[in-house]
């Protein structure tokens, strides 16, 4: 005899539910959702193991089904393809709906058919658009081989290619295009000139006379020489206004506005892309984030078709589950720590964090020193030989790359001694690496600026060091250009000279070193940091070098293919798998940090540092930002007053206060919703328990009444108060259940 009196098992081992449970409204609506068949008399059960409860339940079923038909007519018609029925029934539905439609008025018919056609049109358009997507076939291949975690990296790369392309189109159409078409559209270009001032002498590094071939290569790699006075850099755009026959084009204003526009566009696009992931992250419990259920039911990637990948996925799932069990054990251990142990751990953590800060400071200082040394060498024009020259030019990039290579290794060693839980370890190391990478660019720019704004004797005459940096924006642009090129070279070199040999060694050499080194893992976080680093440089550098986005587009384009080839040939997926859902959010969060970091130097240099008087569109203004107030002052009075009001302090403060209020309101709303969700969840659990309890009581009561009076089966047992109160709401059911003969229950 079963301990659980509610669920009975057959001799065949299949579970027969109590027919009472079949008749519960919640189960009926579930059945309805699964099989919304019109016929109320036929009650084919959806699960094959159940016995048909048609015997006892006929009257009850028809009562229920009548109510459902009423329900259905009131229900909004869902699209047929979203119903969970078999195909045959869906097609019956289609014909039924068509028949129903014919009975409706012609207006309604028209509306329905237009809706259907629109939906079909939208599906076709979506299919066509997805066919146009770049690298569709390649990404599908990668998905099949390595699953959705690594796929997210490659779709992130594709997103960056599109973003850079759009930024370049923006820069091109507003800054370069007017210059190019001016002679053809009979435009008259007025150049910027500041005559007489000592600041406006431009001594570029253009080479004269016979130029060696290797000097061309140096120029190409460093952005100097023949590349300096081209569209590539800021200094070339020495244009004040372009007078077309019908209008005047204010190029400095366009330059400033396009800079602001591309930063905003990037922000909006990234936020839009990360909205879904962010929402999902907010709803979930922090603790249950990588829960067991998620791993069991949503852990297997149904897309994987490759045998190797299947094996790897299985081992990574195994690893994850074991790590989770381990994590539970560690949590227990942490909770059991004594005070003495805790003090010891905190002391160790403090020391190690100080050590990390010391390492970071040392790296930053070396970047600073390298930058200053490199600038000095370039200024003094010391030429030793080709290779050494290049090294001097690239010294900051080399130091940054070395620092970014060494520090992650150091961090991953240090974190082992800090005794955190595994999940937190990963996140914390990642945070440290992100900080290192993005701050190194900041240090480079800071050291550049300290050079630019430092003059020999006291404050600078022109606001910047015009002797060394007659056109400092071009110089900054050149540094950014060098960083980009060097980054690309390093990625290619590491792939060719480290990953391929590693694969050969591991495959063909049998020594201990090969076994210890192991095959290359595609470490997603490090790769993502690499490309975010490149994108941050691009954002900073676009103001000083308008063609940089195009260079970055091509760079990412080639990186895609290089990484794909390397992945397929050399790598195996990481043993520490990276979840697809959290990874999308992680990529975009790091990208947002990069964007925020990129905005700081750009705004600072636009607003604070005097623009150079020898080159560029802002010769006639003190700072680049000044172009905006000057233009506003030339606008008609009404608009001017409006814009001045918008930029006044009163407006800014009140806008800030209103935004804060809105934010508090939304946070309070979110908190209230979370509380409601928790309450409802508890209620749901409680209701389920109530239901089981009541059904148990009911079965007991039925059994008792059957034992007591086996003859008078039809006598309604309304006297028992236990189920009377519970079913007082559903009187139909109560009456029906009272009439149901106990012998019809499917067990003896």
């Amino acid at each position: 005899m079963e301990v659980d009196s509610v669920f009975y098992t057959d001799h065949s081992g299949r579970v027969h539910n109590n027919p009472l449970l079949d008749q519960l409204p919640s189960y009926q609506s579930l059945l309805y959702r699964r099989k919304s068949s019109n016929s109320g008399t036929k009650r084919r059960s959806s699960s094959r193991g159940r016995s048909g409860s048609s015997g006892s339940g006929k009257w009850g079923v028809s009562t229920v089904s009548r109510r459902e038909e009423k329900q259905k007519s009131q229900m909004v018609q869902r699209p047929i393809r979203e119903l969970a029925t078999t195909m045959a029934e869906k097609r019956i539905h289609v014909t039924q709906r068509l028949e129903e439609a014919r009975e409706l008025s012609s207006l309604r018919q028209l509306r329905q058919s237009t809706r259907r056609h629109l939906r079909r049109l939208r599906d076709d358009a979506q299919a066509w658009l997805s066919w146009l997507k770049l690298w569709r076939g390649d990404i599908r291949l990668i998905e099949g081989m390595f699953g959705t975690g690594i796929l997210s990296y490659f779709s992130f790369l594709r997103f960056l290619v599109m973003l850079n392309l759009i930024i370049f189109v923006l820069m091109f159409s507003f800054i370069m295009l007017p210059l190019i078409i001016a002679p053809h559209a009979s435009g008259n270009i007025t150049y910027t000139q500041k005559v007489g001032s000592v600041c406006s002498e431009y001594s570029g590094t253009a080479r004269r006379g016979l130029v060696n071939f290797h000097e061309h290569i140096t120029d190409l790699l460093s952005g100097g020489g023949f590349l300096e006075r081209t569209y590539l850099f800021y200094g070339y755009y020495k244009v004040d206004k372009i007078h077309f026959p019908k209008a005047t084009y204010n190029l400095p204003l366009a330059y400033l506005l396009v800079t602001i526009a591309y930063l905003f566009l990037s922000l909006i696009w990234i936020v839009k892309r990360s909205a879904t992931g962010f929402k999902r992250n907010l709803i979930q419990d922090e603790d249950r984030f990588q829960s067991f259920c998620n791993k069991i039911f949503a852990g297997w990637d149904f897309c994987i078709t490759n045998e190797n990948a299947v094996r790897l996925k299985r081992s990574s799932l195994l690893y994850e589950l074991r790590t989770d069990l381990e994590e539970e054990r560690i949590k227990q251990k942490i909770a059991d720590r004594t005070r003495k142990e805790r003090c010891r751990i905190y002391l160790i953590r403090l020391i190690l964090n100080l050590f990390v800060i010391g390492v970071l400071a040392a790296c930053f200082y070396s970047i600073y020193a390298a930058t200053i040394f490199s600038q000095k060498v370039q200024m003094d024009n010391i030429k030793e030989n080709f290779i050494v020259d290049l090294i001097y030019e690239y010294l900051p990039s080399i130091v940054i790359t070395l620092a970014n290579f060494v520090t992650p290794l150091l961090f991953s060693v240090i974190i082992n001694y800090e005794d955190y839980s595994p999940a937190f370890e990963i996140r914390f190391t990642l945070m440290r690496c992100v900080f290192m990478r993005l701050t190194s660019i900041g240090v480079l720019l800071f050291s550049l600026w300290s050079q630019i704004t430092k003059c020999d004797n006291g404050p600078c005459v022109c606001g910047y060091n015009n002797k060394l940096y007659s056109c400092w924006e071009t110089r900054v642009g050149q540094e950014m250009y060098k960083l980009t090129i060097f980054d690309f070279i390093i990625i290619v070199a590491v792939t060719i000279f480290v990953e391929f040999p590693r694969k050969l060694i591991v495959n063909y050499c049998d020594c201990g070193l090969a076994k210890w080194w192991g095959q290359q893992e595609f470490a997603i976080p490090q790769n993502v940091l690499e490309i975010v680093y490149g994108q941050t440089i691009c954002w900073i550098g676009t103001f000083y070098s308008p063609m940089l986005p195009a260079i970055c587009t091509m760079k990412y384009f080639f990186i895609f293919y290089i990484k794909k080839v390397s992945l397929i040939n050399n790598c195996r997926p990481a043993t520490r798998p990276f979840r697809a859902s959290s990874s999308n959010f992680f990529f975009l969060a790091v990208l947002l940090i990069g964007l925020a970091l990129a905005c700081v130097p750009v705004t600072f240099s636009m607003a604070q540092i005097n623009s150079s008087h020898a080159c560029g569109p802002f010769v006639n203004y003190n700072t680049s930002w000044e172009v905006l107030p000057t233009t506003v002052s030339k606008l008609p009075g009404g608009i001017q007053k409006l814009l001045l009001a918008l930029s006044s302090e009163a407006f800014a403060v009140s806008f800030f206060v209103v935004t804060c209020l809105a934010m508090f309101y939304v946070i309070a709303l979110a908190g209230a919703h979370k509380r409601v969700i928790d309450q409802l969840r508890e209620q749901l659990a409680m209701e389920g328990r109530d239901k089981r309890f009541l059904i148990q009581k009911l079965c007991q009561a039925q059994r008792l009444s059957a034992i007591k009076s086996p003859v008078s089966k039809s006598q309604p047992c309304i006297s028992s108060p236990s189920y009377h109160t519970s079913f007082s709401n559903n009187f139909n059911e109560a009456v029906f259940l009272a009439h149901s003969p106990p012998a019809s229950s499917t067990h003896v």
């Binding site: 081992g13 539905h93 069991i296 089981r692």
Partner: protein, 187 residues
């Protein structure tokens, strides 16, 4: 469309487009795939709705399903007779539910069916253990399997009957962040 295909009538294709998440081209392509599973069994002309079913063994060998540990359960859940023999309607239905455009609720319903090995409308401990063993190919120790299943039921069970009903499952799956992206097969 201008091209003349003789596999389906236009009404049939319209009906398929309404009932699935596929476009006309994709449905025709699916028919091609279905046909090449059993060329002698599946007619090329479907205008008069022939009643042929491809057996489980052939479907489960498709490259998209071959490496899936749940391939048998998937095919069985979509077959009318429960034995895994799919007609073309059921074949298309299966891939439509598993495509990336199907909504979460629909996928949840079928995921529940797939993971319910003993077909009793509940995910009991045995179902979970079978799922886990298929996922890890029995490389976890029995104690670990027990522990994991216990924790999973603890997390998702709302009504306290130590098994997961569909309501529990659906509630849990809405909070599972990876479900939509992993529960999909490309064809």
């Amino acid at each position: 469309m201008g091209n003349k295909q003789t596999i389906f009538t236009d009404e049939q294709l319209d009906a398929y487009q309404d009932c699935t998440f596929f476009t006309r081209k994709e449905i025709l392509r699916l028919h091609g795939r279905y046909h090449e599973l059993a060329p002698h069994l599946v007619p090329m002309d479907y205008t008069n709705e022939p009643d042929c079913k491809v057996p489980l063994a052939l479907i489960v060998n498709m490259p998209e399903l071959k490496e899936n540990p749940f391939r048998n359960r998937i095919v069985e859940s979509f077959s009318e007779d429960g034995m895994g023999n799919l007609s073309f309607n059921e074949f298309v239905d299966m891939f439509s539910v598993l495509s990336e455009m199907a909504p979460r609720e629909l996928k949840a319903i079928y995921a529940f069916k797939i993971y319910d090995f003993n077909v009793d409308n509940y995910l009991c401990k045995e179902d979970l253990e079978k799922t886990l063993n298929r996922l890890t190919k029995e490389e976890l120790t029995p104690e670990e399997v027990q522990l994991v299943c216990e924790k999973a039921i603890e997390e998702a069970d709302l009504d306290g009957d130590s098994k997961l009903s569909f309501a529990d499952f659906e509630n849990m799956i809405t909070r599972a962040p990876d479900f939509l992206s992993t529960f999909h097969i490309r064809i």
